[in-house]
Symmetry: C2
Subunit: 475 residues, 2 copies
């Protein structure tokens, strides 16, 4: 049974060797006394992530270098206390939360971009830079860092890599792992390793960047990353359309490709999502709108003009109505307003949102949503579905009252059924959020025993004392 939703707050701090006076004294020597937080109020912000369940650390450490992180981890192995790395702390599965106590290593002070190389298309950065700050730093140089998780204004690049963050642009540009060229990582046992390098092609030894990206802070703490950049596309355009059914809307996705257009993003909203934003913000969608599609293209100015017209034609041919095509950046921003309005709009349906991010082969999205709606009906729980139709990653949001135990129980059961549906449709239980402690009880639904055992063998080989981010992924 997951702690998630069952034990929502654990106000008392755990007590491990991390709280021993001599350990704290050595930690103060390592990172400087001013960078060791133990006061209740000061550690409070490091106790939770977007899941909003509190697990206060015994101390928060704010190191400034790989050498300091290494010294912390060596001490943690010597004295056996848990260490949990933390970036922006905006994850949805508790990856950065110290569920077994010990120390949190915040990467807040490691926030320098070390090199932007326009000729060789890479950036070298410390982990504590926000995704947004990274994008802002490279774009004036005509460069582009595509991964764009919804939390990009607050998420750190280190966390993006640890969680292999996705986002809206992945239909065309893939996910974080496709941009990781090299990593400096401190292993659980304290050794500093340098995986990968500065080039897309690099086949020297095992691909440790491949293993570390998405390892949820369980195999090492990232202290530097070299990320691949692309030339910044000249322009973007967006087309918005409504459809009678989800099935019609999603049928456009492969049709774009058949028309030789690869959209940057194809976002879909289901009927409940449309009703929610309509009730709250009156965009003017009619009752016949059963699904809404937002489709963006990018490239040369002429290309986006042509490609957005092709998209317009495809959605009209596919039964889309109220079709709007942006002709400027401002018009485009306006079309995306509906997507941005969604999160605030659905809040009124419950104080608790079970925000799951299942993924299926994209042609199965309509069936997924139909079955999710039926699950919601069966468990008498309001559900809103929206997300990335272009890559099959749908955000299923069951809404209920946090203070109604029966409703919470029904919602939890609905979540488990939705995971089963996603797997049945050839997909899996998480496309973007990861496992952490929240989805750990469901891991064995998605992976068979030998596959989980392989992961555990790797974990044990690299973290024999189990000190790095314990209580995650495996139950």
């Amino acid at each position: 049974m997951s702690r998630h939703h069952e034990q929502p707050d654990r106000k008392q701090r755990a007590r491990t060797a991390a709280s021993d006076a001599d350990v704290l004294a050595r930690l103060r020597e390592i990172v400087g006394a001013e960078n060791v937080l133990v006061d209740g109020e000061r550690v409070e912000p490091y106790a939770q992530d977007a899941v909003k369940e509190k697990f206060p650390p015994e101390a928060v450490l704010l190191p400034a270098s790989a050498a300091e992180v290494s010294a912390i981890l060596k001490l943690a192995n010597e004295r056996r206390f848990p260490v949990t790395a933390r970036g922006g702390g905006v994850g949805y599965t508790g990856g950065a939360v110290p569920v077994e106590g010990g120390v949190v290593v915040g990467t807040d002070r490691m926030n320098r971009i070390r090199e932007i190389n326009a000729d060789d298309l890479y950036v070298v950065t410390e982990p504590g830079v926000t995704t947004y700050a990274l994008q802002q730093a490279v774009e004036p140089r005509g460069l582009f860092y595509p991964p764009d998780p919804a939390s990009y204004k607050n998420s750190f690049v280190g966390g993006n890599i640890a969680e292999n963050a996705g986002g809206i642009r992945s239909a065309k540009y893939g996910v974080t792992k496709h941009y990781v060229l090299g990593l400096e990582v401190v292993l659980p046992t304290g050794e500093i390793v340098r995986a990968g390098g500065r080039t897309t092609k690099n086949v020297v030894g095992f691909d440790l960047t491949g293993l570390l990206c998405g390892s949820e802070g369980m195999l090492g703490i990232i202290t530097e990353a070299t990320l691949k950049l692309l030339p910044l596309p000249e322009a973007t355009r967006t087309v918005r359309a409504t459809f009678r059914t989800m099935r019609e809307a999603c049928a456009c996705v492969p049709a774009f490709n058949r028309a030789k257009v690869v959209p940057v993003a194809v976002e879909v909203l289901d009927r409940n999502s449309i009703e929610a934003v309509e009730t709250e913000f009156a965009f003017g969608f009619g009752a016949e709108a059963g699904a809404l599609l937002l489709v963006s293209v990018d490239g040369h100015a002429e290309d986006v003009e042509r490609d957005s017209k092709i998209v317009e034609r495809v959605v009209k041919d596919g039964g889309g109505f109220d079709v709007v095509r942006s002709r400027s950046r401002e018009e485009e921003e306006k079309l995306w307003d509906v997507r941005r309005a969604l999160s605030p709009a659905i809040k009124k349906f419950g104080t608790m949102k079970f925000n799951e991010d299942v993924v299926v082969p994209r042609s199965r999205v309509p069936e997924l949503v139909e079955r999710v709606v039926r699950v919601g009906e069966r468990y008498d729980t309001f559900v809103v579905n929206f997300g990335h139709a272009g890559d099959g990653n749908i955000h299923v949001n069951f809404m209920c009252d946090r203070d109604d135990p029966a409703a919470m129980k029904r919602a939890r059961e609905a979540v488990r059924e939705v995971f089963a549906v996603a797997i049945d449709l050839g997909g899996t239980i998480s496309g973007e959020h990861g496992i952490g402690y929240v989805k750990a009880p469901y891991l064995s639904m998605a992976l068979d025993a030998p596959t989980v055992e392989m992961m555990k063998r790797i974990k044990r080989a690299l973290d024999p004392n189990g000190i790095l981010n314990p209580g995650k992924m495996f139950t």
Copy 2:
């Protein structure tokens, strides 16, 4: 010291438990007697790869399923004999060669494409399909599998994944690992694991596909792969130009990006390469041609027209002369003839070709080539440089007489110096070929001790008896 080039042929077979009568009997039970080859002539084709050094296996096994591969590996652990997986056997570093004897597991019979999904843009294939056959199978459906190692007509998809193969298109499309969605793999200890899935977004547990891709057959044997496809671009165009210097030619590479063009391929040939093809095939290049650039773009028909004109303008502005732009597929093929003529043309410079594939950040290519030329002069060894200017992966070919021990020694020393130069320029010793046994002696030049130790820890955790592909990567 590498066995490579030192012990060119080892005619006698190793003798391990694999040759025991009872082991062979059990192997015949597992895969069927007709799929166990022990006869000298029949195992001969499985004794070498493109390195052309012979290490005959004690037996060749041709299993038809993951279950059979699993049974072989369990027996190998029980009786402790080496197992080496083999795809097309066209590698350049001996990855598929049984240097310590034992059995070779040939994937020849696992050659079925199981599913081509045009709507969801993936293909499910067995490992024994050639890269070319895979491309041929998907293209009529309007689909595109971009990785294109030079050996694509003979290389197997399984080997491409095991080696994380690159190719000419990687400047735009990346390498094999960017297309691996899911893998079925038999671990060294015989368990069958299923890593990843069918979707680009998948963050359920550690990214085992990331670790396995490029693991050179040392961490598992691939028995099925799910690979991402793209919509097939409508058209391609190529521009060919000569320059006085390598420096001028390579300066065009970032200039294309500044002009918002991302070429599919940017291939460069140095002066010695041009002289070689000119002497042999009389293309008509003048003595002033110090470098040659081949640049391809793809996309919509109109886009490639425009983008190839931009490329033409950039190369002319950058000092290019004798600039030719293809206007049809036939003209394009003709422009690429010079690249295809290269391998046969350089053969006359020696019976032995040390074909190395160093990689540097692409802006450092001119300096790399200048320093390689000086290394060649210092060691009195003819050297030809060509390769992928778009991604910094340059093929350095030292030519000498296989029967001249002094020349061979000089060439080997030159190779080691070139590796040091690549590392000094921020690159590494292999962009495409991998390590195998050939580059194992140089691994520690490119990776520091903790990074190598991390790899070894993973290897030991997954292959405690060291039976899978021993004698590779680590010396």
